[in-house]
Symmetry: C2
Subunit: 161 residues, 2 copies
């Protein structure tokens, strides 16, 4: 079953990428259009599974589809300078770091507010007061944008074969 040609379902199972996403990746041009059987079924081989695993791992590291396009290009190019790959990776580390800092700031503020709240049956609450007061919460302002979202829903593991 793994030797040569398989349908999208098995490909999904052995790559860990859902069939839905495989079709999607094809549609947006991240992977080339699959060959079809006479009846229109997409056919894949071990090579395709390899590529899809690469994509999945990159997604798990938080790379966006755009970034993965670049990574795939470098991966396939035997003459790439590893410099470029490293630059891409470190740039992404920066993005992750920016997001982490932002979340840390939120957590920090929220914990400070919560620390002053009795948390009992009385209605007085510094947390609500803080939210209502202007200027309590720092404005995440700039220095953000561009970090790929993801991580919203679990990829719903395809139980990787």
């Amino acid at each position: 079953m793994n030797g040569m040609s398989m349908n999208i379902g098995e490909t999904a199972r052995s790559s860990g990428v859902s069939a839905k996403m495989i079709r999607h990746y094809e549609e947006i041009g991240l992977i080339p259009k699959a060959n079809r059987t006479d009846s229109g079924y997409r056919q894949y081989n071990g090579n395709d599974v390899h590529t899809l695993r690469f994509i999945r791992q990159a997604r798990n590291l938080g790379f966006s589809i755009r970034q993965i396009e670049e990574l795939l290009g470098l991966w396939r190019n035997q003459r790439r300078p590893s410099r470029k790959v490293k630059a891409l990776a470190l740039a992404h580390v920066e993005e992750l770091d920016a997001r982490i800092r932002e979340l840390e700031a939120m957590k920090q503020t929220l914990q400070e507010l919560a620390a002053h709240c009795h948390g009992d049956e009385r209605p007085e609450c510094p947390i609500l007061d803080g939210l209502a007061a202007p200027g309590t919460v720092a404005d995440p302002g700039a220095a953000r944008r561009d970090v790929p979202r993801r991580l919203a829903r679990a990829p719903k593991r395809a139980s990787c074969h």
Copy 2:
């Protein structure tokens, strides 16, 4: 201009919430439907601005709209137990923490891969190798979901008056 009744533009400016989002919040029922002038213009007062500031600050702390609905309910209820507010806040801290841990894990993995990459003109690259190898990247798996996304685009500061 601030004394009584203002249009959506000024309300946006003084609350820091864009006119677009004010309409959106009304549509999804987060805030009540605004009164209209004869010609259909929405009218707001200082109270509404206060509420919108509350919402904006909660968003800046990463609360989702759903969570803000609850916070608003507690804020308006003079007989709330502060216990409930604190519980909400601490639950959100948990979510933030889960996200932070996830991002830290990605960063960690990526840094390890990058540390072994020469980053020169040669094509050998442990980063690409790691992405291609099965099982290099931990699967964020479960323990995620539900944390509100946001932070993707900067709220495009309404230069808060």
